[in-house]
């Protein structure tokens, strides 16, 4: 894919995501301010020379906090997506390949996960230790793998029936070879679409759960919980409430635009 073939929408998405990624990777390093350092005398300072984007109610640099929060969100979302996509895809391919009771069992498991709205299932898992990373991550990954499983299972069925794949198997090429050279390349476009969309969904879910108070909790800087923390000061400093939410919007919008217009 060269840059000139991208539609304007996809290009905008790419720019948004690249900007966020740059902010997340370079931000904490360039800003060089401790996101936890409180200067109470400077609380709710307006954007200016000393604090580029102002400070929050405890006099912490908004820029530093948002950079760290963006890094946290993108990292956690990426790890979640990978933890859902890799096992989901492998299980999907395996189910289509093996068939039989293994496939039926996996399909039943996937249907069980889909029986409940996913946020509800995540909440039930988060309830084991509200405010911890681990149940949040496990919950999102557990809910997420199903999509990759279903898509890769459906696609693999079709791929396995193609003449060249059948020929390769009859000729005795190993499973690893067939998987790596014949199946995965064909799955890749669909999987990358799912993963990009899933990344946006994970960023949104993490910030939403943190906003409600069940995700990542203060004092850790997180985009959703920053909005909650600053909500009582929304009259004096509306920007501090809006900026973290705007970063979430940018991330999700970037993912959706990159996937393209027809995205579900």
């Amino acid at each position: 894919m060269s840059g000139s073939t991208l539609s304007p929408g996809k290009r905008t998405g790419l720019v948004l995501l690249a900007a966020l990624l740059g902010f997340a990777v370079l931000g904490p390093w360039v800003v060089d301010a401790d996101p936890a350092r409180q200067v109470l005398a400077h609380s709710l300072a307006a954007p200016g020379a000393e604090y580029l984007l102002g400070t929050d109610h405890l006099g912490r640099s908004m820029l530093a906090r948002m950079a760290h929060a963006t890094r946290l969100s993108l990292l956690l979302a990426a790890v979640t997506v990978l933890s859902a996509a890799v096992p989901g895809t492998l299980l999907g391919v395996m189910a289509a390949w093996r068939g039989g009771w293994a496939e039926s069992g996996l399909v039943l498991l996937a249907d069980a996960v889909l029986a409940l709205p996913s946020l509800l299932l995540v909440l039930l898992l988060v309830a084991f230790a509200p405010g911890d990373f681990l149940p949040l991550y496990l919950g999102l990954a557990l809910v997420g793998w199903v999509e990759y499983f279903r898509v890769s299972r459906a696609l693999t069925r079709g791929i396995l029936a193609k003449p060249h794949v059948e020929a390769a198997r009859l000729l005795g090429f190993g499973r690893g070879y067939v998987l790596r050279r014949l199946i995965l390349p064909e799955l890749l476009p669909a999987l990358s679409t799912l993963a990009t969309f899933g990344l946006g969904g994970a960023v949104l879910a993490i910030s939403t759960l943190s906003f409600v108070g069940l995700g990542i909790r203060p004092p850790v800087a997180e985009l959703g919980s920053m909005t909650t923390e600053l909500l009582p000061h929304a009259y004096e400093a509306p920007l501090t409430v809006l900026m973290p939410a705007a970063l979430v919007l940018m991330a999700v919008l970037g993912c959706h635009l990159l996937v393209g217009r027809g995205a579900r």
């Binding site: 249907d111 069980a112 029986a115 409940l116 709205p117 996913s118 946020l119 509800l120 299932l121 909440l123 039930l124 898992l125 988060v126 309830a127 084991f128 509200p130 946006g200 949104l204 910030s207 939403t208 906003f211 409600v212 108070g213 069940l214 959703g224 909005t227 909500l231 929304a234 009259y235 509306p238 409430v241 809006l242 939410a245 979430v248 919007l249 999700v252 919008l253 959706h256 635009l257 217009r261």
Partner: protein, 321 residues
């Protein structure tokens, strides 16, 4: 409807019943595990919940342990727990000591009334824009709707709600930012939910209308001399409605998730709010009960959508006739 058609309806109903059972099993298993994961002796906890915090002493705990059989093997207790759940015996709240079902009954009403405002509102917002965009693909309305819906689907629901509060209750002072007494209190939470839902339904409606308006049977209806209005009403709408109604089922996931967020944001005393608060308070029976009710609600509405799809689809209706 004759027998053939009834059978086509029976299967989806059976599938949904199985789904409801699955929901109960999953929620029950997680509830049981949550209860076991709570620190401290369960018997003391339950005794305090039942007889009040002052009565939660060793004698009461022993009575509770005896009555509920808390010293039996875990597996037996689990089966017992699931059995109670299937009889809709949800136990008592660990915080207030009230029966969970009693507590949730009122909250369910609040949640349903909010949903009953949000769904029609989303239809009023999304369907006309979707139809207009679909009749003139890549026209002005189509492009504006596309932009709006892409933006709305990326905005976190809590930020959208906050923005609406900032504009309509703080800046303009037209609507109350919270509360649930009169009809005006419904508008902001309802609108927050509806905008998110409309963003999706407008797109699906648009695609469906665009596809149907170029379908051969529409061309034939026009060619045989039907006036445009009759062609659209008699042949177009019903066919265009199928994917839109089918999408409703998918949208309801969004509605249930949205309810949890919007209720928390607006302090709306519904089940979603109760669920989040019970998680904070480690009130496992309420967590389980609220999740079960939301899950069953989800299954029920999905079943209704299945039935609606089956009755709308002209192909299926004709197959039975």
């Amino acid at each position: 409807m004759d027998r053939h058609n009834w059978r086509s309806l029976l299967r989806p109903i059976l599938v949904r019943l199985l789904q409801a059972l699955l929901v109960a099993l999953i929620v029950g298993a997680l509830g049981f595990a949550l209860m076991a994961a709570l620190p401290g002796d369960q018997a003391f906890r339950l005794a305090a919940a039942r007889y009040g915090p002052d009565m939660g002493d060793a004698t009461a705990a022993a009575l509770v342990r005896e009555e509920l059989g808390l010293d039996r093997p875990r597996a037996v207790q689990f089966l017992d727990w699931i059995g109670q759940l299937l009889r809709l015996d949800l136990g008592h709240s660990l915080v207030t000591g009230e029966p969970v079902l009693e507590e949730l009954r009122g909250q369910l009403g609040h949640t349903l009334s909010l949903a009953a405002v949000a769904l029609p509102l989303s239809a009023i917002l999304g369907l006309p824009l979707g139809i207009l965009s679909g009749l003139h693909p890549s026209g002005l309305a189509d492009r504006v709707t596309l932009g709006l819906s892409v933006l709305l689907r990326a905005v976190p629901a809590y930020a959208l709600g906050l923005l609406l509060v900032a504009v309509f209750s703080i800046r303009l002072g037209w609507l109350p930012p919270a509360g649930f007494e009169g009809w005006r209190e419904f508008i902001l939470p309802g609108l927050t939910l509806a905008l998110g839902l409309a963003a999706l339904s407008a797109r699906v409606t648009r695609d469906s209308v665009a596809a149907v308006s170029t379908a051969p049977y529409m061309a034939f209806a026009r060619w045989k001399g039907l006036p445009e209005r009759a062609a659209v009403l008699r042949h177009g709408l019903r066919n265009a409605a199928i994917p839109v109604v089918a999408l409703l089922g998918f949208q309801l996931i969004g509605l249930i998730e949205g309810l949890i967020i919007v209720e928390s944001l607006f302090s709306w005393p519904g089940i979603g709010h109760a669920l989040v608060h019970a998680i904070f308070a480690r009130d496992v029976p309420v967590v389980q009960g609220a999740a079960l009710l939301m899950g069953l609600l989800f299954v029920l509405v999905n079943a209704l959508v299945d039935l609606a799809c089956a009755t709308i689809d002209p192909r299926r209706a004709r197959a039975g006739a």
